[in-house]
C-alpha cells in the first residue's frame, strides 16, 4: 500500500497512475475537465506557492546584500554580491560563536533523534510482536500522553532539571527529547504492518535470539517508518526553542534557534547583527530543507500510514 502511495505524486503530470482511468480527453489523469478549470486551478495553486516561496526567496536575496544595502535597496532586487563576505563575517563574529551554535544544534538533533528513534523502534516492536502483562496499560498511556502538549511540560521539565542539577548542560536538553510517544505509536503501527509473524517464527526456529531478530529483521523491515520517526524527532529538536531558552544560560551550549533570536534582539543596539541574523537564518535553513525534501518519499508514506491507522 505504501509503495502505491509513494508512486502517486507523479500522477498529475503523467497519466499513468493505475487506479485512474486513462483517457485522452482534455487533460491528464483521465478526469474529464475543461482547459479553463485547469488553468484556474493551476493559477490558484501558483498564487499560493508565491506566498509560500516569497519569504524564502527574500532570505536568499537578502543574504547576498551588504548591511547597508539591506535597508537601502528594494527587498526582492539583487544588489552587489556580498554573500561570501557575509558568511565570513558570520564565521568570525564573537569568535565564531555561530558555528558553535550550529555544532550544538547538530549534536542535539542527530544524537537525540537517533537515540529517540531506537527507543521508539524497540518499544513499538515489542508492542507489535509480544503479548505481555502491562502492554494494554503502556498503549493507553502512550495514546493518552499524545494529548499532553510538549510546551506545557517545558516549565516543569525545567524545574526537574534544576533539581537534578542538569540545567545548563548538554544532557539537560538531550534527555527530555528522548520521550517521544508519537514516535512509539508510529513504530508500533509500522511494526504491525511490516513484520510478518511467520518470519519471526522462522528466525526463532533457526535459533536466532530475540534481540538479534529485532536488530537483524525487525529494524530492517521497519526502516521506512523509522526514517519518518527519525526525521520528525530531528526536526523537533532542531526547532526546539522554549526548553533550551529555559534550560541553557551558557552561550556556548545554545542551539541555533536561541543564538539567532538572541542576535535578532541585540540587533536593536548593534545594527551590524541584522545582516548576520539574515545570513545565519539562511545557513540554518538550507541543510534542513535539503534533507527533509530529499527524504520526503519516506516520511510521506510514514505520515499517511500514521494518519490512516492512528
Amino acid at each position: 500500500m505504501t509503495a502505491a502511495l509513494q508512486d502517486r505524486p507523479r500522477a498529475g503530470t503523467a497519466p499513468s497512475s493505475r487506479p485512474r482511468r486513462v483517457s485522452r480527453t482534455v487533460v491528464s489523469g483521465g478526469e474529464r475537465v475543461s482547459r479553463g478549470w485547469m488553468i484556474a486551478a493551476t493559477a490558484v495553486v501558483a498564487l499560493a506557492s508565491l506566498y509560500f516561496l516569497a519569504p524564502v526567496v527574500w532570505l536568499v536575496i537578502a543574504s547576498t546584500k551588504s548591511a547597508s544595502e539591506l535597508f537601502s535597496t528594494p527587498g526582492f532586487a539583487l544588489a552587489d554580491w556580498h554573500l561570501w563576505e557575509n558568511v565570513r563575517d558570520l564565521s568570525t563574529y564573537d569568535g565564531g560563536i555561530f558555528w558553535r551554535w550550529a555544532l550544538n544544534s547538530v549534536v542535539y538533533s542527530v544524537i537525540g533523534s537517533v537515540a529517540t528513534t531506537l527507543l521508539c523502534a524497540a518499544t513499538g516492536y515489542a508492542l507489535a510482536v509480544y503479548r505481555f502483562r502491562g502492554r494494554a496499560l503502556l498503549i493507553g498511556v502512550v495514546l493518552g500522553s499524545l494529548l499532553v502538549p510538549g510546551t506545557v511540560l517545558a516549565q516543569p521539565t525545567y524545574v526537574l532539571l534544576v533539581n537534578l542539577g542538569l540545567n545548563n548542560t548538554y544532557w539537560g536538553l538531550l534527555l527530555p527529547g528522548l520521550s517521544y510517544p508519537f514516535g512509539v505509536l508510529l513504530a508500533w503501527i509500522f511494526a504491525q504492518n511490516a513484520i510478518p509473524t511467520e518470519l519471526l517464527e522462522a528466525a526463532r526456529l533457526d535459533g536466532s535470539g530475540e534481540f538479534r531478530t529485532f536488530a537483524g529483521i525487525g529494524l530492517r523491515l521497519m526502516s521506512s517508518g523509522l526514517v519518518t520517526i527519525l526525521l520528525f524527532a530531528f526536526l523537533g529538536s532542531w526547532n526546539n526553542y522554549l526548553l533550551p531558552l529555559l534550560v541553557l544560560t551558557d552561550a556556548e551550549l545554545m542551539p541555533l534557534t536561541v543564538g539567532l533570536t538572541g542576535w535578532n534582539q541585540a540587533s536593536i543596539t548593534i545594527p551590524s547583527l541584522q545582516i548576520l541574523t539574515v545570513v545565519g537564518s539562511l545557513v540554518s535553513v538550507v541543510p534542513i530543507a535539503i534533507v527533509f525534501l530529499a527524504l520526503q518519499r519516506f516520511w510521506r508514506a510514514g505520515l499517511s500510514a500514521g494518519s490512516v491507522r492512528g
Binding site: L5, P9, T13, R20, E31, V33, M38, V45, S49, F52, P55, V56, W58, A62, L70, F71, L119, A122, T123, L127, Y130, F132, L138, S145, L147, V148, P149, V152, Q155, P156, Y158, V159, L160, V162, N163, L175, S179, P181, Q192, T197, L200, R204, E210, Y241, L242, L256, L260, T261, N264, T277, S281, V285, I288, A289, L293, R300, L303, S304, S307, V308
Partner: protein, 310 residues
C-alpha cells in the same frame, strides 16, 4: 491456543525467549517516559502547591512552604494571564479555520487532475515547514518592519500605509507566520489521505453526472474526516501553546507584552519573575484547558460525523 479464532492478535503472541524479553525492549522508553513525561506532570502538580519566600528554586529547599491553591488563586486573579487565554482563543478562531481551509483546498486541488506541475507546487507549499518556526518568525519579522520590509514598502508604493505591528494587527501578523509555517504539513497529511481513497467510488459518481466540485466536497472531504480531525486537533493544541512566533516578534514591537500568550506568561513568570511555583500552577491550568478543548473537539466531531451527510 491454536483452536482460538485466528485473529492477528492471537497469532502474534510471544513464542520464544523468556517472559522478561518484552520488558527489556520497552524498559528504556518507559524509564525516559516516567522521568520526562510523568515526573514533570507530577512536579507541576506538586510544585504549584508550594511557594518560596526567597528566590530559591525547586521544592526541596528550606524556604519552601505549602500554600495550597494560593498559586492558582493568584493565576486566576491575574487579569493579564486570563487575557492571554482570550487572545489565543480569538487567534485560534481565525487562524485554525483559515489554515485548514487553505490546506484542504490545496490538498483537493493537488488530488484532482487539474493542477499542472504538481510536484513543484507541492514542494513550494511544503518548503516553509522545513524552516524552523523561530527562523520563520525572524524572517517574517523582517517583512513586518517598515525599514526593511518589501511588503510594507510595496503597499506604501500603491498608497496603503500599513502598520503590521500595530496593536490591532500584530495578532494577525503572528497568525500569518504560523499559517505560513504549518499549512504545508497539513496539506500533505490531507493529500496523503485523499490519495489512499479508492478511486472507483469517484468514477461511479462521475458516471452518475456528479461534478468535480461536488465530488470533492460531498465525497472526498467526508471520507478523509479522520485526517481532517487529526490535523485540526493538532492545530488547535498548537494554537493554545503559542510561544515561538510572538516571543521572537517581541523584540521588534512594543505591542507584544511579555505575557501575551499563556506560554509566554509561564516563561516570563518562571524566569524574569523568578517564581517557578506560580509558573507550574499556570502550566497546569494551560494543560487542563488544552485537554478540555481537545476532548470537546473530539466529542463534537464524533457526534457531528454520526449525524450523517450534510
Amino acid at each position: 491456543m491454536a483452536v482460538q479464532t485466528p485473529s492477528t492478535a492471537v497469532r502474534r503472541r510471544a513464542l520464544g525467549g523468556g517472559r522478561w524479553v518484552p520488558y527489556a525492549f520497552v524498559t528504556p522508553f518507559v524509564l525516559v517516559f516516567l522521568t520526562f513525561m510523568l515526573a514533570p506532570i507530577v512536579i507541576a502538580l506538586v510544585n504549584g502547591l508550594y511557594s518560596s519566600q526567597s528566590s530559591g528554586l525547586g521544592f526541596g529547599g528550606a524556604e519552601t512552604v505549602f500554600v495550597g491553591v494560593r498559586n492558582y488563586a493568584r493565576a486566576f486573579a491575574d487579569a493579564d494571564f486570563l487575557a492571554s487565554f482570550g487572545r489565543v482563543a480569538l487567534y485560534g478562531l481565525v487562524q485554525v479555520p483559515v489554515m485548514m481551509v487553505i490546506a484542504a483546498v490545496l490538498a483537493l486541488l493537488f488530488d484532482s487532475a487539474l493542477v499542472r506541475a504538481r510536484r513543484f507546487f507541492q514542494f513550494a507549499v511544503f518548503l516553509p515547514y522545513a524552516v524552523p518556526g523561530v527562523i520563520a518568525a525572524l524572517l517574517w519579522g523582517f517583512f513586518y518592519q517598515p525599514s526593511v520590509s518589501p511588503l510594507v514598502q510595496g503597499l506604501q508604493a500603491i498608497g496603503i500605509d500599513a502598520d503590521l505591528l500595530a496593536p490591532g494587527t500584530v495578532l494577525w501578523s503572528v497568525a500569518n507566520i504560523s499559517i505560513w509555517s504549518n499549512a504545508g504539513i497539513n496539506m500533505i497529511i490531507l493529500f496523503s489521505a485523499l490519495q489512499s481513497l479508492p478511486r472507483d467510488t469517484f468514477e461511479a459518481a462521475r458516471l452518475d453526472g456528479a461534478g468535480e466540485l461536488r465530488i470533492a466536497l460531498n465525497l472526498k472531504l467526508p471520507m478523509i474526516a479522520p485526517a481532517v480531525l487529526l490535523t485540526t486537533l493538532s492545530t488547535v493544541i498548537g494554537t493554545l501553546q503559542l510561544f515561538n512566533e510572538p516571543q521572537v516578534l517581541q523584540s521588534i514591537t512594543p505591542n507584544i507584552s511579555s505575557d501575551w500568550t499563556p506560554n509566554m506568561a509561564i516563561y516570563a513568570v518562571s524566569t524574569l519573575g523568578r517564581d517557578p511555583h506560580l509558573g507550574s500552577a499556570m502550566a497546569v491550568i494551560l494543560g487542563l484547558v488544552t485537554l478540555v478543548v481537545s476532548l470537546v473537539l473530539v466529542r463534537f466531531t464524533n457526534s457531528s460525523s454520526r449525524g450523517g451527510a450534510r
